[in-house]
Assembly symmetry: C2
């Protein structure tokens, strides 16, 4: 079906390059005229108008929670409501088990810092929340402090994102019970890495601390493993959830993993959430508000289900069926026939 | 996951029998306590309260458009919005091609009458709209007229449904350009079969005529095959769409079938829409307002997707994966590995 893309106003040049590539591909593969359109400008006004147009049948969006929920409301209030796949916010919790620290706190801190600062922290899978066992990991924190203090701040996508990040970091820093581990200094337009720490009890009391700092900021939450497990159900939906530890620890904390599974679309062991592969097993989605529709993924082959609708054909002569349903199976696709895959 | 069912107030006894059977099955199969609950009474108030409760994660509903859209609004306005699968209204268009009439108008009328009056017309797949080629099918209409005139009206589910049916039939009968072919007479609480006829041009002008008469009422729309095909995109979403004719006619009118496919979840050839089989190929769903979510089905094995969410497990040791993902495949399920089904 035809696709309409609205270019982000912060990178019109990139949008034009990508749009041109898509148009050339459409021409090369003899797609029908109008199969792809690229619109510029107008921000939310244009977006809402497109979502409200009767020919539009599904919506994909990545951006802020306010932008995404505005599109959801517009889609739900149409005469014919349509699905909205909005990716809105995720703090991507990381749980560090003691065994991971025993393998080497310095290397773990360096790898974590790499994930935290990738793209000036502007990845939807950026690790904005780190659960660390109480009384352990001081070497991890110390190395992270060094790295953040010495970090080179990067330029963020636009002034609005940069200001929102600075405001959120300031709000977290001034929340009662929050300790600033390290903050880099930044010039105008730049996002400076920042690391904070708070007790688990205090974390659960302050709603602000469970929200997203969109940028290279993270909050370390300190508690016992029992408290950490009990806190997971209090988190909103996430794109990813990560555990670092040993295989034995995983087995011993199966209920912690089960709790994380209920809150996220992708569970990661001994790696970092930034990085998304286009493959069959990819799920880039998760419970609200990570996405508005946790049933699907925006990356990976399963993403096609966002734009499909099942239709049953009953009693049609073989020759009048769509090619994919005909007995001859001329398209060579896998088919389910009377419950058997053939 | 646990399921909460709200009994319909019009059949508490049936609900109790079914609920008891489900409870016995849950006990026999060692399901956890609380896996199934049956609530009584309160109608929409109870329904909305349940939908708004934070532990509820998905909603299925069959009923009126006003009831379904109220649940959709409640679900969309939750802090965490959830999917609603509401089956709300469908007029299930049937298109008669000339070849079907040539096979025998009397038999076709009798079969159509059987589908129209099944369950006093209270099937969601009841054929409430019949497109008939202009200048043909007088024998079909005449036999239908005889059957309806002689019909024994049946008792409908409750007084509200019965009154709504009577009111809608009256409104259709008094719409300009509508001709009454036949109406049976009914006692209080009964639904009397009714057949009307209208020109295609007039049908497209009067919004009322494209709505649902929930009961044994149908509207015959007369036009050329070209006009009929052009009218299909003007219809709302449907659970079913049916074509009667010959294989040659189907091939000659492929674009009519394509138009019907865009409006319905199940396409039927030379049969009748009433009747739903629980099987792999079943789709009982369709574009809004047939259902609130045309991506899924309420009947058939694919229905399980309504209540699932994909999760990717990255980097986990084999022994710590859910059984269905482990290399040993102890559950013996079909798996997609690196793009190959094994």
């Amino acid at each position: 079906c035809p696709v309409v893309v609205i270019a982000h106003e912060s990178h019109p040049g990139t949008a034009e390059l990508v749009g041109g590539a898509v148009m050339r591909a459409a021409l090369t593969t003899n797609m029908p005229e109008g199969v792809f359109s690229l619109l510029y400008g107008g921000g939310r006004t244009v977006g809402i108008s497109v979502v409200q147009h009767p020919v539009i049948q599904a919506v994909g969006f990545t951006g802020s929670r306010s932008g995404g929920t505005a599109l959801m409301a517009a889609a739900a209030n149409r005469e014919q409501p349509i699905p909205v796949y909005a990716e809105m916010s995720s703090v991507n919790p990381v749980v560090i088990l003691p065994g991971a620290l025993e393998r080497g706190e310095t290397a773990l801190a360096e790898a974590f810092f790499g994930s935290l600062t990738l793209g000036v922290g502007q990845f939807c899978t950026n690790p904005g929340l780190l659960f660390l066992p109480e009384g352990k990991g001081f070497g991890f924190i110390e190395r992270l402090r060094e790295l953040v203090t010495a970090a080179t701040p990067g330029t963020m996508l636009n002034a609005g994102i940069c200001q929102a990040y600075a405001d959120t970091v300031e709000a977290v820093a001034s929340t009662e019970g929050v300790q600033t581990i390290a903050r880099a200094t930044a010039a105008a337009g730049q996002g400076a890495p920042a690391v904070f720490s708070v007790s688990l009890r205090r974390f659960l009391e302050a709603d602000l601390l469970r929200g997203e700092m969109f940028g290279p900021g993270t909050l370390i939450v300190r508690g016992s493993l029992e408290e950490i497990e009990a806190a997971i159900p209090e988190l909103e939906g996430q794109l990813t959830a990560t555990v670092h530890g040993t295989a034995e620890e995983l087995a011993a904390h199966a209920s912690l993993v089960t709790a994380l599974e209920s809150r996220a679309g992708r569970l990661i062991f001994n790696s970092f959430p930034t990085g998304v592969e286009v493959c069959h097993s990819m799920v880039h989605g998760g419970p609200f508000p990570a996405t508005s529709d946790g049933r699907s993924t925006s990356v990976g082959t399963m993403a096609i289900h966002r734009f499909t609708r099942a239709v049953a054909w009953q009693g049609f002569p073989d020759a009048c069926l769509p090619a994919e349903l005909q007995e001859g199976n001329s398209l060579g696709i896998r088919r389910l026939v009377d419950g058997e895959f053939v």
